[in-house]
Amino acid sequence: MAERVLVAMSGGVDSSVAAALLVEQGYDVVGATMKLFCHDDDLPDRPCCSLDSVNDARRVCQSLGVPHYVLNLESAFGSDVVDNFVQEYAAGRTPIPCVRCNTFTKFRDLLHKADGIDARWIATGHYARVAGGELRRGLDPAKDQSYFLWGIDRSVLARLLLPVGARTKPETRAIAHRLGLEVIAEKAESQDICFVPDGDHTTIIRKKLGDGAPSLTPGPFVLSNGTTVGAHAGFARFTIGQRRGLPGGFREPMFVVAIRPSDRAVVIGPRDELLGRGVIARSINWLVDAPPVGTRVEVQVRHRAQPAAAELVRADGDEIEIALDEPVAAITPGQSLVLYQGDRVLGGGLIDRSAGARSPLPVRAA
């Protein structure tokens, strides 16, 4: 009997093609769209939103001849992902909600649903691969999404299928056309955070914490020597490395180099103050046996960054420290530190802070 796979379907091209490929490969495919949030939750009589994406996923399943279900994970997503997102900004960090969504919503909650229907496998449309029991980068360097997957439980890998991870995006679109999935074949990429559709994350912070939230309250721009050089409208609008919205009149280009919630200060400085020679990360999750101190790795401190050569210099429980061979710019608390060896994803964690002396060396492209 065909093995059953529960496919998380967003209504986009990647997860649709993932489902279609699994049908072709002979799996017993069950499609599910996770309803994660509601833009209209202040309209009590309209509990259904993201309806278009649900409809697209359903149409794809209909054309594939497989069942489709809508899973309401709003409440868990709200506490695991949205609340955390807001709290991280309040703490002066820059979170990546997709990482927590993968860790908790997709690869924990969805897995429970898979258990309930006897599904041996779960699948998504991520551009990453599972090989030899390990997570690998997606083959298309322009699309690789392995950076967002470091937090999943290692045991999930034995049940995870990532059918588009070995394709390029154009190939995926071509497959969609070949399979007649015209509904979704040319859908635009989703770039925004799904619950921040207009790109302005302060809206959700305001909604959750109110107008008086300290992270949305005016505070000073300061230099690292303590001089106040201006005022900003709320530190949640800033992230490390940001240039937009800073006061002018300096000889060199200025960047956000730190955010200090204690006095609501946004610290700005020239490019060399952005550089870090090391990274301290917490909430570490390993997808391989924990490597010993001294292991040579490549790390990424943000999505789409060039991997930087580094060494694991300290590992205390769920905190690690990495020494970078060359300094890296804009190591941002709240973003993810992901450790690779070539295509292999070793694991990752949440960046707590940069470590080691700042260096005047030239910035590596990062």
């Binding site: 649900v54 309401n72 429970h112 309930g116 229907i117």
Partner: protein, 387 residues
């Protein structure tokens, strides 16, 4: 996979062969518009008039008291908004209802509230019936209409409609009941009931979707929701859906004629299923189990440690179709307002499964569900414990 089992008759039922047969001529040679003067019109008019008489007979009503609608939702809207809007200038602005009504009633009451009505919700007992003291305290001389459903669509509890209607009458209030789930299951005779308005629907009794009716007692004034021609005395303008009306009349006659026998059969099967589930799963909670009167075709059960969403998927993939509470438009499962209103804690409300029996339900279906359901529950709970 064995033959799939449909256990969701409270959602909808298949169109009966007799009904389809009765309808077919109206998709063929008898296509006329009942308002036309010529022979085609006369022919359609005859069918419409006869159908109205037949539906009226099924309820003990007069033909002019029957207004055909697009279904239960429209009937409820006419009943609540039509009567309230007609009475709002009399100084009676309140509407009394329960928190366990169908959304068609609740949303109509909300709309009336938006237009100035005072909405009053009756307290429910944990058994899923109206708290009489609460009801009597709310129905006073300010009430335009009390609207209370006869049989609850989620848990199958039956309200004492005769007594509630009589009380409303004694206070000068109109009384509406949503009889969508009651029709064909409970004897309805408006000659012996103080009900002024009553909603019924076709597709719950083997007629097609898109047809229903509202009984409006003579002398009850309603403000129409639609504006147009003079069809149905202006209460419901629009060219009549003759084929569906004819089908509805046939289905209604069959449902009334077969009622006693079918009710006994469904009650026996439902009780059998309920006993089997409770025997295998001793901590199962059957909602409304202790109500003084239960409809024969609905079994709503919550199993601690499971969730409706996963159970429905697992049941469907085993070929068994049930439902949870009310499904929202995207098809996802939201906790039932009915269960919340009768005090079912959230962890049980989100675990509710409604099985509803009907024409497709045989002894063999029940035997299989009685096997498969507990097995799926054990599996789901095993997993919940393991994780």
């Amino acid at each position: 996979m064995p033959e799939p089992i449909y256990l969701d008759h409270a959602a909808t039922t298949p169109v009966r062969a007799e009904v389809l047969e009765a309808m077919l001529p109206f998709y063929g040679p008898r296509f006329g518009n009942p308002s036309s003067v010529h022979r085609w019109g006369r022919d359609a008019r005859t069918a419409l008039d006869e159908a109205r008489e037949r539906v009226a007979r099924c309820l003990g009503a007069s033909p002019d008291e029957i207004c055909f609608t697009s279904g239960g939702t429209e009937a409820d809207n006419i009943a609540v908004l039509g009567t309230w809007r007609a009475r709002r200038d009399e100084g009676r602005t309140a509407i009394v209802t329960t928190p366990i009504e169908h959304k068609a009633v609740l949303a109509s009451v909300h709309q009336a509230a938006h237009e100035g009505a005072d909405e009053r919700f009756v307290a429910m007992t944990p058994d899923g019936v109206v708290d009489r003291a609460s009801y009597e305290s709310l129905v006073d001389s300010g009430v335009a209409i009390a609207t209370i459903m006869w049989v609850n669509n989620e848990i199958g509890t039956v309200q004492p409609i005769a007594e509630l209607a009589a009380y409303a009458k004694s206070k000068g209030a109109l009384f509406h009941t949503d009889g969508v789930q009651a029709f064909g299951k409970i004897e309805i005779d408006v000659r012996t009931l103080a009900v002024d308005v009553l909603s019924i629907s076709g597709h719950k009794i083997g007629a097609p979707k898109g047809i229903g009716a509202v009984f409006i007692r003579r002398g009850t004034v309603i403000e129409p929701l639609f504006h147009g021609g003079q069809q149905d005395r202006g209460r419901r303008p629009g060219t009549e859906n003759v084929a569906s009306v004819v089908g509805f009349a046939r289905a209604a006659e069959l449902a009334v004629a077969e009622r006693e026998e079918e009710v006994a059969r469904l009650r026996r099967l439902r009780d059998q299923l309920e006993r089997a589930i409770v025997a295998r799963i001793p901590d199962a909670t059957v909602h409304g189990a202790h109500a003084p009167e239960r409809a024969p075709h609905i079994l709503s059960v919550s199993i601690p440690g499971t969730d409706s969403e996963s159970m429905l998927m697992a049941l469907d993939l085993r070929g068994i179709g049930c439902s949870a509470g009310s499904a929202c438009q995207s098809g996802s499962v939201t906790p039932s307002h009915v269960l919340s209103a009768i005090g079912v804690p959230p962890e049980l409300a989100t675990a509710a499964i409604r099985m509803s029996l009907g024409s497709l339900t045989s002894d063999a279906c029940i035997a299989r569900v009685a096997e498969v359901f507990p097995a799926l529950v054990e599996k789901a709970r095993g997993m919940a414990r393991a994780s």
